[in-house]
Each structure stands twice: as structure tokens, then as C-alpha cells.
């Protein structure tokens, strides 16, 4: 079994946004030359998410609006204090909680050299505390 891991950097533009990364991942899968196995997409951060849904602007907007309702930016949280380990004020508890709810990974089967993804499925990198330079990884695992 072979494993290919690729790190992708992305400069996000806004405080919150959804970024369609499906084509980038399909390109990495094709380049890997592997035929059968798994494709893992994983964010390296705790205030971003990876999620899969239909690639429609209204859905993308609804996802972000829902996250704001579930963990409002101006809510009262314990994570709102000076962090000696960072040297920064912790002001982004809602971003962490939204990330925790959306999750940071997705996994797809790899079959005959192609990622098995539904026709309406789109893979999104979700920024929840931007703009920042972010990194996610794509691992293609198989034969």
C-alpha cells in the first residue's frame, strides 16, 4: 500500500467563508496514480472546518448563518481571556465551537483511480476565524 500526503496552503479572505476545494483534491488524486483506496482531507487548524454539501451559494450562506446561530460571535464563553501560551487575547471561542461542530476531516473511497463523490457533493474548506494563511492536507492511501 502506498501513501501520498500533500499540504495545501490557502490564504482566506474573510472572517468566515466557504471555499470549494473539490477540484484541487481531484487533481491531487489523479496525480497520485493510485487506483483503489481512500482519500482523506483534513484541516490542520482548530478554527476552520472541512465539510461536504451541495455547492450552491445559498446553501453555503445558510451553513455560515446556522453556525453563527448555534455559537454566536458575541456569546459568553470561558475561552475569553489572555492566553500566556500564545501571547494573545482569546477572543474566538465561537470559531472553535463552530469548527468542533462542523468537523475537520472528510473521507472518500478511491475506486479505479477516481474519488467516489456524489454528483451534488462539494468539498468545502470553511474559514471560521479569518482572514489567515491556512493549511489542509490531502492523503491518498491505496494501491
Amino acid at each position: 500500500m502506498k501513501s501520498l500526503v500533500k499540504r495545501i496552503e490557502i490564504e482566506t479572505q474573510h472572517g468566515t467563508e466557504t471555499i470549494n476545494i473539490t477540484e484541487t483534491i481531484q487533481h491531487i488524486v489523479a496525480e497520485s496514480g493510485l487506483q483503489n483506496g481512500l482519500v482523506l482531507v483534513s484541516s490542520l487548524h482548530t478554527t476552520t472546518a472541512i465539510t461536504v454539501n451541495e455547492g450552491l451559494p445559498d446553501i453555503e450562506s445558510d451553513i455560515l448563518a446556522m453556525m453563527e446561530k448555534v455559537a454566536p460571535s458575541e456569546g459568553i464563553y470561558r475561552h475569553a481571556r489572555f492566553l500566556p501560551s500564545d501571547g494573545q487575547m482569546a477572543v474566538n471561542a465561537s470559531s472553535h465551537l463552530q469548527s468542533a461542530m462542523l468537523g475537520f476531516q472528510c473521507l472518500f473511497p478511491l475506486e479505479n483511480g477516481r474519488m467516489v463523490i456524489g454528483g451534488r457533493q462539494t468539498i468545502f474548506f470553511v474559514e471560521l476565524d479569518g482572514p489567515q494563511l491556512r493549511t489542509y492536507i490531502v492523503q491518498v492511501l491505496g494501491e
Partner: protein, 286 residues
């Protein structure tokens, strides 16, 4: 127009790549331990926050830490890369060449003010031997000084040097020198308030480092402790918006000030007009 009067151009990837020991100094002096970001992200952060211009504050702590974080030259180079940056200088008042360096850097690098951090530079702001010659020169050069006041979160910072009341002597002895009390002096807010209310040459910035989000900090300090009426009546020309980026989030700081409930005209002064007045740029507040 929004001017962020209190930003630190550190943790910028390009600066660290050209000066690798800078990263260690940033960690040692400021206690910052997070990923550096490209300069483009600093500008995107300004865009997202609605900030038009940002004052960049370097720090020369040669006596205490044997280096600058960052240097005046580095600030000048950043200002060349974007006309949205306004550069301040920093010199270490305890260094023998402080005055000549300040004069040189102000006259040659296009820098328009001086940043001092007594807590990290290790001097009392009313020290006549160490600090007063610097104030004389700043008055002569007609540049404002921004003085860190209040709690120093920096690991090696000594807050005892940063009580804003030390600046009362300076405000009296240098009436022509414009003095900005950084961080609203928190937690010495009442002391900062005394100076801001009384002395025409004393200003306060909103980079308040309270224990919470910007919204909670401003609510606690500006609304509950100081009172919006006091700000609107007595400090409307004296308060400058500042975030303390990247120690505090710029975007959330802007939003929190907008949500305070200030009158529109006073909000406009705090966000930008007072800064323009102070620096002699753009439209003046009346």
C-alpha cells in the same frame, strides 16, 4: 474613515524570513507564540475590519534585550509597500545615541511619531535624565509619542514603569508635546482618565487589554467604568481607536466599538478623525 492607531507589525512572515532571529526575539519580548502570517493577511485583516490605515509601532529594547522588535527601517520598508501604513519610530531612551538616531530616522524614513514602552524598555516616563531629552526632541520635531501604559502582558514587562500618572509631569512640562496613553492605561483607567480629561495634549487609545473579548472589554471599561457620557462630553477629541493587533483581533475590536452605542459623530472621531487631527492628515475633526 477608520485608523487603527495601535498595531504591532510583528509576526509578519516576510520580516521573519529576512531576519530569522527576529522570531526568537518576538517570543522572548512579546511572548507571541503563534504562526506568522504573510503581509497580505495583515492587509486583508484591515480590509475585513474596515480599517483604512494602520499605525505601525516598532520597539527598540536594545538595553533590556539587545535588539529591536522590529526596527525603524523595517517599519519604513513596510510603509513603502502600502500607503495604508503609518510608521512610528522607536528608540531606546537608555542608549547613548538615542537622540541622534531618532532625529535621523524621523527625518529620513518618513516616520511620524515615537513609540515608547517603559515596561519593556525599563525607565520611568518622568525620568528627567533618561526620558526628558527624548521629549524635548519630539517636541522640536513636532511628533507625537505613544506610551505603553498599564498592564504589560509581555513576559519580561514590568508594569510598575507603566502607570499613566508618571506622564502628568510630562504633560505639564511639555505642553506642546502630544502624548498618547496606550491601552487606556488599563487597569489604571481612572489615572489615565485624569490626564485625558485635564490636559489638552493627552490622548487615549482603545487598545484595552481586559480579560475578555473586545466587546466585553469595551463594555466593562468604556461603558461601565468611564461612561459613554464622559467620553462624548469630555474626551470626544481625545480617544483614538486602537486594536493592539495582533495581540487582539482587529475585526472584532472595530465591531465592538461600533456596537457601543456612541453618537455617530463621536464614533467617527474615535475611529478616524481624531487620528487625522493628531497626525495632520486627511479631514480634521471639529
Amino acid at each position: 474613515m477608520i485608523v487603527d492607531f495601535h498595531t504591532h507589525p510583528i509576526m509578519i512572515k516576510e520580516l521573519i524570513e529576512e531576519d530569522p532571529p527576529l522570531l526568537q526575539s518576538i517570543e522572548k519580548v512579546f511572548g507571541f507564540c503563534f504562526a506568522a502570517q504573510p503581509l497580505s493577511i495583515f492587509i486583508k485583516e484591515m480590509d475585513e475590519a474596515g480599517v483604512d490605515e494602520a499605525v505601525l509601532l516598532p520597539l527598540d529594547c536594545s538595553s533590556s534585550f539587545q535588539r529591536t522588535v522590529v526596527s525603524n527601517q523595517q517599519v519604513a520598508r513596510l510603509c513603502e509597500k502600502s500607503d495604508r501604513f503609518i510608521g512610528f519610530a522607536s528608540i531606546d531612551p537608555r542608549q547613548p545615541d538615542a537622540l541622534s538616531q531618532l532625529e535621523h530616522d524621523i527625518r529620513n524614513y518618513g516616520l511620524v511619531g515615537l513609540k515608547l514602552n517603559p515596561a519593556l524598555q525599563g525607565f520611568y516616563p518622568n525620568d528627567k535624565e533618561i526620558a526628558y531629552p527624548v521629549y524635548h526632541l519630539c517636541a522640536e520635531l513636532s511628533i507625537p509619542i505613544m506610551v505603553h501604559c498599564g498592564l504589560s502582558w509581555a513576559p519580561a514587562g514590568k508594569s510598575r514603569f507603566a502607570n499613566p500618572l508618571f506622564l502628568e509631569d510630562v504633560a505639564q512640562d511639555f505642553p506642546q508635546l502630544r502624548i498618547i496613553i496606550g491601552h487606556f492605561g488599563w487597569p489604571w483607567v481612572n489615572e489615565a482618565l485624569i490626564l485625558g480629561l485635564k490636559y489638552p495634549n493627552v490622548y487615549l487609545d482603545t487598545a484595552i487589554l481586559y480579560c475578555g473579548t473586545p466587546a466585553q472589554s469595551f463594555q466593562k471599561v468604556l461603558v461601565e467604568q468611564v461612561g459613554l457620557l464622559v467620553i462624548e462630553r469630555g474626551l470626544h477629541n481625545k480617544v483614538l481607536f486602537g486594536s493592539d493587533y495582533p495581540r487582539v483581533d482587529m475585526r472584532r475590536s472595530v465591531r465592538a466599538i461600533k456596537n457601543l452605542g456612541l453618537s455617530e459623530d463621536i464614533g467617527a472621531k474615535i475611529f478616524g478623525l481624531n487620528a487625522c487631527n493628531l497626525l495632520g492628515i486627511g479631514k480634521e475633526a471639529k
